[in-house]
């Protein structure tokens, strides 16, 4: 399968690429920076992995740059919307420019990417699978994450409606809701803050990045052919 993935510079994105490559898929990866971790995958999986440098704050050039130049006349069987930027602050400090920038990256450009992914699937008659990466903050609430969580909540609603709208063509859309992982995005948290977060989970520990990536790969595969419009929590049982 040809899989388009955003946010492949590090963390969860790299792990999803790794799992999908191990399963024999072709990767079309997008990120701002071409990191050594991604280059390492390119070295190990020559010809199966492609990279495009693209800034997701630019929603205007999605068709030209991502689809016409990068993907070309290849069918896309799966799309993983993984890239995101965090904007953490309490609501009384909300800055509109920073909020708009975050929505461009987390919501508006992913919606444009979905538009052209669906068009690609329509053209090549592919019963494809779309997976958005959300956040447990949508469901539990954390101090300082209201703006970020709102952008992920928008994706959850978008996915549910994508599933309903495109289901008759066999196209599926699901959400993976990870708990807190050890990634660059959570690196600003203190150990004490992290411990407090982990105590709110049934398994009392950090969420495994590998488990998140394996769940994404499962939802993309035919094994999940009857699953659509769902939010799958991979969060150690967050309460």
């Amino acid at each position: 399968m040809n899989i388009l993935i955003t946010g492949v510079s590090r963390g969860v994105g790299i792990e999803i690429c790794t799992v999908l490559l191990e399963q024999g898929n072709n990767i079309y990866g997008i990120a701002r920076t071409h990191t050594d971790e991604f280059k390492n995958l390119e070295y190990n999986y020559k010809g199966k992995i492609h990279f495009k440098s693209f800034d997701l704050s630019d929603g205007d050039n999605v068709n030209e740059e991502v689809f016409k130049d990068f993907i070309g006349k290849n069918p896309i069987h799966g799309f993983v919307n993984n890239a995101a930027t965090a904007y953490d602050d309490i609501i009384s400090n909300l800055n509109l420019d920073r909020l708009k920038n975050m929505y461009n990256v987390n919501v508006f450009t992913p919606m444009m990417l979905t538009k052209y992914v669906l068009r690609n699937m329509l053209l090549y008659k592919v019963k494809g699978s779309i997976v958005h990466i959300s956040s447990i903050s949508v469901h539990t609430g954390y101090k300082g994450l209201a703006m970020y969580a709102s952008s992920k909540g928008a994706l959850e609603a978008f996915s549910k409606n994508t599933a309903r709208e495109w289901g008759q063509l066999g196209i599926r859309s699901n959400i993976v809701v990870p708990g807190f992982m050890e990634t660059a995005m959570s690196s600003t948290l203190s150990e004490e803050q992290k411990d407090r977060i982990y105590k709110r989970t049934s398994l009392k520990t950090v969420t495994s990045i590998r488990s998140v990536a394996e769940t994404v790969a499962f939802l993309l595969s035919d094994k999940a052919e009857s699953i659509t419009g769902q939010n799958i929590h991979v969060d150690n049982g967050t309460i």
Binding site: N63, K73, R119, N120, L122, L123, Q168, L169
Partner: protein, 73 residues
């Protein structure tokens, strides 16, 4: 160009078990006369874009065959 558009329209009509058309009239309404649903129109759009590199739906809805010809000419 008009023959190619007719070919694409007939492909989509065939998928919907509708008879092929021998010619198109500029006044033909895509929904009312050709029986296209919103998904058929989406398929028409992507097939036309694939061949002509023009997104006929980019600046709003297209209603008639003549409007498609206009965008492609």
């Amino acid at each position: 160009m008009e023959e190619k558009v007719l070919e694409i329209i007939n492909q989509i009509r065939k998928n919907n078990n509708l008879d092929g058309l021998s010619n198109l009239n500029k006044t033909d309404n895509l929904r009312d006369d050709l029986g296209f649903t919103s998904f058929d129109l989406a398929e028409l759009t992507v097939k036309i874009e694939d061949i002509f590199n023009i997104d006929i739906f980019e600046d709003g809805l297209v209603n008639t065959v003549g409007e498609i010809f206009q965008k492609l000419s």
